[in-house]
């Protein structure tokens, strides 16, 4: 299965985790850098690198006041939704009966509607 069509800025494990984590916040909320680092489990340097890429793409903003906070932008939320849609199509096409032995792993069973994989238990 090809991953073409998936936004390369998002399609990296760490950046995907960052985007999904920030997307779990309510609109208008932000997350401290240290809390984000704690949740993602990256070194500060790596987190900065990934945040820089996401920031350059306009997907996140960082604000430096008494604490440094990170937030998803509207463009970032829209990009994650597009990414989710493309990913869902890829997973759907991979699970077609025509290619049962493609060596492709089963889709994750427990899927929250807010997450990506459709058809729980498929």
């Amino acid at each position: 299965m090809s991953e073409e069509g998936l936004d390369p800025v998002i399609h990296a494990p760490a950046r995907l985790r960052i985007m999904v984590t920030l997307a779990a916040l309510h609109d208008g909320d932000d997350l401290s850098f240290t809390k984000l680092q704690d949740l993602i489990g990256l070194t500060p340097g790596n987190l900065i690198t990934h945040l820089r890429k996401l920031e350059d793409a306009g997907y996140v903003t960082t604000e430096k006041t008494a604490r440094t906070s990170v937030a998803l932008t509207h463009a970032g939320r829209a990009a994650l939704e597009r990414y989710t849609t493309v990913l869902r199509h890829l997973l759907d096409s991979a699970s077609q009966p025509a290619a049962p032995d493609a060596g492709y792993p089963a889709r994750p069973a427990a899927v929250n509607p807010d997450d990506v994989a459709p058809h729980p238990g498929a």
């Binding site: 995907l16 997307a23 779990a24 909320d29 401290s32 340097g45 430096k64 994750p108």
Partner: protein, 220 residues
């Protein structure tokens, strides 16, 4: 970024995973796990708050009722019994601290809303005591003041939950708000002594019920 000496401090950029190919299924798993973890971390549980207020009302109001029941004529609870006020105040502070801790790291609009709500409760309780003073000053009888001082905190709490549920569209909290307002409105008919007992049971047990079922409600 104060925590990391600026955005240029890349200590191990080789660890960034751009070059690592990621299958769609792997991405789906990452999204699922990261989403669940984030939601778990950001979820604010009201269980501690409900328990503290439930016990505060049940024990505090219950103690008040024990001190005033059978009074003829009604002369109100002894000043010492007003420890219940301190109890509710302490409960309010502890609740606020517990909730603030739950969403530590999260800033922005949610944090501002929570602080305003917290201040709203304190302002409501403060205004209630001022109004009680005004009633006494205006010559209200002790039984009238007794009904007011038992019912008003429950009314303040009920209205607080109304507002909270409107902001977060939290239907269980909305139900609690409705119930507390009804209890505050109706409990007074039990008289200046009986109102303490009615409110202790009706409001206190409602809080404890919410504390018991909240985890199940959040999961559903």
């Amino acid at each position: 970024m104060n925590e990391h000496a600026g955005m240029t401090g890349m200590d191990d950029a080789s660890g960034t995973d751009d070059a690592t190919p990621m299958a769609a299924a792997e991405a789906a798993v990452i999204m699922q796990q990261a989403g669940e973890r984030a939601r778990r971390q950001f979820r604010v549980s009201h269980r501690v708050t409900f328990t503290i207020w439930g016990l505060g009302l049940l024990l505090g109001y219950g103690a008040m009722w024990l001190t005033v029941r059978g009074q003829r004529p009604f002369h109100g609870p002894p000043p010492a019994a007003f420890a219940v006020v301190a109890l509710l105040g302490a409960g309010s502070v502890m609740s606020g601290v517990a909730e603030a801790r739950a969403d530590s790291g999260v800033g922005g609009l949610s944090a501002i809303r929570r602080r305003i709500h917290f201040l709203g409760v304190l302002a409501g309780l403060g205004a209630m005591f001022a109004l009680e003073g005004a009633l006494v000053h205006a010559g209200a009888s002790r039984p009238v003041v007794g009904v007011f001082e038992a019912s008003a905190p429950v009314l303040v709490a009920g209205l607080f939950y109304f507002i909270t549920s409107a902001v977060w569209l939290d239907w269980p909290v909305f139900g609690l708000g409705v119930w507390l307002v009804v209890v505050a409105a109706v409990g007074g008919f039990a008289g200046p002594a009986g109102v303490w007992g009615v409110d202790a049971l009706a409001a206190g047990l409602a809080y404890l019920l919410m504390a018991a079922i909240e985890p199940r409600l959040r999961r559903s």
